[in-house]
């Protein structure tokens, strides 16, 4: 079994070898480490992508807009990922972003995962029948089949999930009421000795 440290070091060197700058190579390496840690096929996808990277043209973006279309070649998942993480605070305001044709979308995931941590919101990535929920860089929930690794996201949608409860107010109240059974009723004398009691707050 390869350690995550070996995975990170080798991914960084390989990324530099195919032409990425050292700074980008560091980002890629962190991403592959994360994918492998979460049980996603990072090494496999990176290998496949690097076999093609100098044979095919992959498109790059300067700025990520609400709608990002490519009529020709597909987007480089790494360039897209780096731009996403660099611009995430602006992109967050768009709430939802669509991107057509992302090559090897698995490689895009770690950038979304870290972006989720940076903005403090869950991020949902959907393309075709695949859904990935990125949870603050702590976990990635996915519904995809390991047997069918998507090589292209034809039409991807990325949404920032507003932080809100996924339970009803009634459910919360029920639980809270139960928690109250751990509290003790205070006597008057105890109340008078509690913090702030007996003082004027205008002193």
């Amino acid at each position: 079994m390869k350690s995550l440290s070996e995975i990170e070091t080798t991914s960084k060197r390989a990324s530099r070898a195919v032409g990425f700058s050292w700074g980008i190579a560091e980002e890629i390496a962190k991403g592959i480490r994360l994918l492998e840690l979460f049980g996603l096929p990072g090494i496999q996808n990176l290998n496949q992508y690097y076999k093609l990277i100098n044979k095919k043209n992959f498109k790059t973006l300067s700025v990520i807009h609400k709608n990002n279309k490519s009529n020709g070649s597909s987007f480089c998942p790494i360039d897209l990922g780096v731009k996403f993480i660099d611009q995430v605070k602006t992109i967050e305001n768009l709430k939802r972003v669509s991107i057509t044709k992302i090559a090897y979308p698995i490689l895009f995931l770690p950038f979304l995962s870290r972006s989720s941590d940076i903005v403090g919101k869950k991020i949902l990535l959907k393309f075709e029948k695949n859904t990935f929920l990125l949870n603050f860089n702590v976990s990635i929930l996915a519904n995809y089949s390991k047997k069918k690794i998507p090589l292209l996201a034809s039409k991807a949608e990325i949404s920032f999930i507003e932080n809100k409860d996924i339970f009803s107010e009634k459910e919360w109240k029920n639980l809270y009421k139960l928690s109250e059974n751990t509290f003790v009723e205070e006597t008057e004398s105890l109340k008078q000795g509690a913090a702030g009691a007996g003082l004027t707050d205008n002193d």
């Binding site: 350690s3 995550l4 060197r13 050292w22 980002e27 700025v63 660099d86 611009q87 605070k89 940076i118």
Partner: protein
């Protein structure tokens, strides 16, 4: 009185870092303190009459066990090499997490002697190998087999029976990643497992010589006197492999230095110091003279440093005995200021280490702050502006920004990874091939390039926009935002200049390990000694904290 932390622009210069010495913060000393109440055992001892075979030692506390599995091998004299290109060693070691099963031992027997070309598992925490110091090993065995103790003069001159030539940890060759074990309190300190491995190897070397001697002459042989054992440590040969580590782990480097600087600051801020503490400090200085006079090296570079160190330590002792009054307020601050004015860098840092000795209350809490969760500082704050970055560079890299990289001498060298051993190397940019595959260790040069680009741009540009067009500088943009929070995270010197002395980088790291007797064999590698004078495993429960200054007495 509030004392400022020392200026990173002074302390992080290579000549200063290359003058650092071990201290109470050093990892081998904090390892011994942490493992004081662990139970040491020799679980397996299967060596043949020549000392070849397998030995297992363990340290155990409350059900947690760490086991050192040792494999002693027969090699020919002409196969013995300290260089990283070696493929055979007198002994190979793995630190196993828990009690190794028979199956584990069989697996390790196949893999550990192969070292870099073997594969370890997540059950192993560290890996190492070592060679006998032939000049002393054979002498010790011969003496013991005749029933006499070896020459003390030789013991003190060499200082060890074995020299390790590499100690690997943290995920190398399949070893456990740090994250798997990071929540264990007892190893909450950098390199603690590596220190454990070396410490247990030291015991192996004693047991092996005793065993061989006994087999040569079962009736009249004797065992190595424990007092002599204590005078022996473990040697180590270290090359450039260590240097990139301190560049590649900026927040960790910061925390090491910051703890040292904080300790010094707090000692200098002590208004009054007890007579007991004064005497302890003075004893350390006095006793340490023998550490200096027994420091053997053929390196003219190091001999020069030792000469001035000895002269200055004697000058200090004279000053302490005849002029200095410890009963004045803030005595250690006064003393420090005197050192700055009157002594060389090597002596300043030597005494700074000793100033910590009496003050456990200051040092012990800092030991726990020497690790770092580097992932937390990886993301670049891309919403910030170029003017922020310029301000950071001007504040934190003032010396580096004065370097002119158009001059050949400032970019004479380059760092690369060798293809045959996957180890870092240094070469001449203008004479050797390979600079196109340069490693990102020329931080000063790249910081200067970053600055030169930034000052031509509008100051309100977002960092994300800057990175969009300057991806080649991304690695140093990240570092600049790290140094903003971690002022000691960067070497304030040129790591590719003509005058670079790479062993200064090694010395910095080795001093934090707790190494002594730095013996440069060239400007690119050196030998050191670890655990010389340290308590033996059966003495761990109660030992003298200042053992290191008494190792030669």
């Amino acid at each position: 009185m509030k004392i400022k932390l020392r200026d990173p622009n002074t302390i992080m210069k290579l000549s200063r870092l290359g003058s650092f010495h071990q201290s109470r913060l050093s990892f081998l000393r904090s390892f011994l303190s942490e493992f004081q109440d662990w139970e040491f055992k020799r679980d397996l001892f299967e060596l043949d009459k020549n000392g070849y075979g397998i030995v297992v030692y363990s340290l155990e506390k409350k059900g947690r066990v760490y086991s050192l599995v040792c494999f002693a091998n027969k090699i020919k004299n002409n196969e013995r090499s300290d260089r990283v290109i070696a493929t055979k060693w007198d002994a190979a070691f793995a630190l196993h997490d828990g009690v190794p099963s028979k199956k584990d031992i069989e697996r390790l027997r196949n893999e550990v002697p192969k070292q870099e070309v073997g594969r370890l598992s997540y059950k192993e925490l560290a890996l190492s190998r070592a060679n006998k110091s032939i000049r002393i090993f054979d002498h010790v065995v011969e003496c013991l087999s005749k029933g006499v103790q070896p020459s003390l003069e030789l013991i003190e001159k060499v200082g060890y029976l074995y020299r390790t030539t590499a100690v690997y940890g943290s995920g190398k060759f399949g070893l456990a990643d740090r994250f798997r074990i990071k929540n264990r309190d007892e190893i909450n300190g950098p390199f603690r497992l590596e220190m454990m491995l070396v410490y247990l190897v030291r015991q192996f070397t004693f047991d092996q010589v005793n065993h061989i001697a006994k087999n040569i002459n079962p009736k009249s042989s004797t065992s190595l006197d424990p007092k002599i054992c204590k005078k022996l440590g473990i040697g180590n040969s270290t090359g450039l492999g260590m240097a990139p580590f301190i560049v590649n782990h900026p927040t960790l480097l910061n925390n090491w230095i910051l703890c040292r600087e904080t300790a010094l600051k707090k000692v200098r801020e002590l208004k009054k110091v007890s007579i007991k503490d004064i005497e302890l400090f003075k004893d350390c200085v006095r006793n340490s003279i023998k550490n200096i006079t027994s420091w053997n090296t053929d390196s003219t570079y190091q001999l020069h440093k030792i000469k001035f160190l000895l002269k200055d330590v004697r000058k200090l002792l004279n000053f302490l005995e005849n002029e200095f009054n410890f009963h004045n307020d803030f005595p250690f601050n006064r003393l420090y200021l005197w050192l700055e004015k009157e002594t060389c860098e090597e002596c300043i840092e030597y005494i700074v280490s000793m100033m910590m000795e009496p003050f456990s209350k200051i040092v012990k809490p800092l030991v726990k702050k020497m690790s770092s969760d580097e992932e937390r500082y990886f993301d670049i704050p891309t919403e910030r502006k170029t003017k922020d970055l310029i301000a950071i560079l001007e504040k934190n890299y003032s010396y580096i920004l004065t370097l002119d990289y158009k001059k050949k001498e400032h970019q004479k060298k380059f760092w690369f990874i060798s293809k045959n051993k996957e180890e870092p190397r240094l070469a001449d940019r203008f004479e050797e091939k390979g600079s196109d595959l340069e490693q990102p260790l020329a931080i000063a040069r790249d910081i200067k390039r970053l600055y030169e680009k930034l000052i031509l741009l509008r100051k309100s540009m977002k960092i994300s926009e800057f990175l969009n067009k300057n991806s080649d500088l991304r690695h140093v943009v990240r570092r600049a935002f790290i140094i903003e929070k971690f002022p000691y995270s960067e070497i304030q010197d040129n790591t590719i200049g003509e005058n670079l002395v790479p062993i200064d980088m090694l010395r910095l790291k080795l001093s934090f390990f707790g190494a002594i007797k730095f013996d440069p064999r060239s400007d690119k590698w050196l030998r050191i000694c670890m655990f010389q004078g340290a308590p033996l495993p059966n003495e761990l429960k109660n030992f003298d904290e200042q053992w290191i200054y008494k190792s030669q007495n």
